[in-house]
């Protein structure tokens, strides 16, 4: 990649980190559109626990991974709410970027388009693991 692309990438990531790491603490804590629609018909207490009535949300169950260390956008063990939310946001952005960029990088088509210095270090064609995986899934989808 050219320097301009690196600059854009780093700049974009910094914006995302700032939004998830700091601005997230000023987000509205009211239930979102889905949650509020599902609670219509029920009465809830100050903590949004259902205390009466009938509504689509009344059968809601616990999350399978509700005790994960980052559950509910907080870091378990960090007492300070601001820090906990911000840190979970930062970790989430980095994790999402790593999974997204890594996955898309493995999926990308190679050996075509404009030659870049990177191309000389990667095999142009051939049987890299991701090529094999894609071929397998294609065969699976066709069958």
């Amino acid at each position: 990649m050219k320097n301009r692309s690196w600059g854009f990438l780093v700049g974009g990531l910094l914006v995302a980190l700032l939004l998830a790491g700091v601005v997230s603490n000023y987000a509205s804590s009211h239930p979102d559109g889905l949650d509020s629609s599902l609670l219509k018909g029920c009465t809830v207490d100050a903590d949004d626990n259902i205390v009466g009535g009938s509504c689509p949300a009344q059968q809601a169950r616990e999350h399978e991974l509700g005790d994960s260390p980052l559950a509910d956008y907080g870091v378990r063990g960090v007492g300070n709410d601001f820090l906990s939310t911000g840190l979970s946001g930062v970790l989430g952005v980095l994790l999402t970027f790593a999974i997204g960029a890594g996955g898309f990088w493995l999926l990308r088509r190679r050996g075509s388009g404009t030659p870049t210095p990177d191309d000389t270090t990667t095999p142009a064609e051939g049987t890299t693991p991701s090529e094999g995986d894609a071929a397998t899934s294609r065969a699976g989808a066709a069958g």
Partner: protein, 238 residues
């Protein structure tokens, strides 16, 4: 229950319907992988990762809407479709939803297929159909691009919300006494307001990217008369 759940929680839709939508989502995402590979090159791959990370960040930013006591947040399908195209865009939103379900306890793991269907597939598809149309009929100006982003984002949010209503009709766990229309109306009304926020965020982000790096806005690629290979070099070659 001090939770920040944003997506469908466990127990809202019954197991069989959730399983059917999981299979449906998996099949559709496979198609997105196969088609998206054509768009993914050395330059787009890291940018698509950035789009996913950005959507994750902005989804945390619940904004108040006019209705008292209700908030909204970005879904991101239109933003992703504008920047990286429909196939890779749907995958971006799906990556966000998977991370949220598996790491942040948001949106039941058993409900993942439902959430992916609504936000990653329906939302992105609705947005891209509108983008493809509007980008051709509207003037090719910044204002035209802004309107395209705003309208496609707004509509995509309402469409995604009705995807949930369909799922609830098929497998909702609480009997609404035949009042599905009530749920549909409530969801549509709230998400129309949320869609305004989604539209503003999407338009602002797309305009910013278009100003800094217009070559990174997928929706602008279609405006080139032929599908000649994009030459990233500025300045006349001929």
């Amino acid at each position: 229950m001090e939770t920040l759940a944003m997506h469908i929680s466990n127990g809202i839709i019954d197991g069989p319907v959730a399983a059917v939508f999981a299979a449906l989502a998996l099949a559709a995402l496979t198609v997105c992988v196969l088609r998206g590979r054509r768009d993914l090159d050395d330059r787009l791959a890291p940018m698509a990762g950035l789009v996913a990370a950005f959507i994750f960040a902005v989804q945390m930013l619940n904004f108040p809407i006019f209705t008292a006591g209700v908030s909204g947040h970005l879904l991101g399908g239109a933003l992703a479709a504008m920047l990286v195209g429909p196939w890779v865009g749907a995958l971006c939103v799906a990556v966000v939803l998977v991370v949220q379900a598996l790491i942040f306890g948001d949106g039941g793991v058993a409900m993942l297929g439902l959430n992916i269907t609504n936000m990653a597939l329906l939302g992105t598809a609705a947005a891209y159909l509108l983008i493809a149309l509007l980008v051709r009929v509207l003037p090719r100006t910044r204002a035209g691009l802004a309107v395209t982003a705003f309208v496609s984002a707004l509509v995509s949010v309402v469409v995604a919300s009705q995807g949930f209503v369909l799922q609830y009709w098929l497998g909702g766990t609480t009997d609404l006494g035949g009042n599905l229309a009530g749920l549909a109306g409530t969801m549509a009304g709230v998400h129309l307001l949320i869609g305004i926020g989604e539209g503003l965020i999407t338009a602002t982000t797309v305009l910013t990217v278009a100003k800094v790096r217009p070559d990174l806005v997928y929706a602008l690629r279609g405006l080139r008369p032929t599908s000649a290979p994009a030459v990233p070099v500025v300045g006349g070659v001929r």
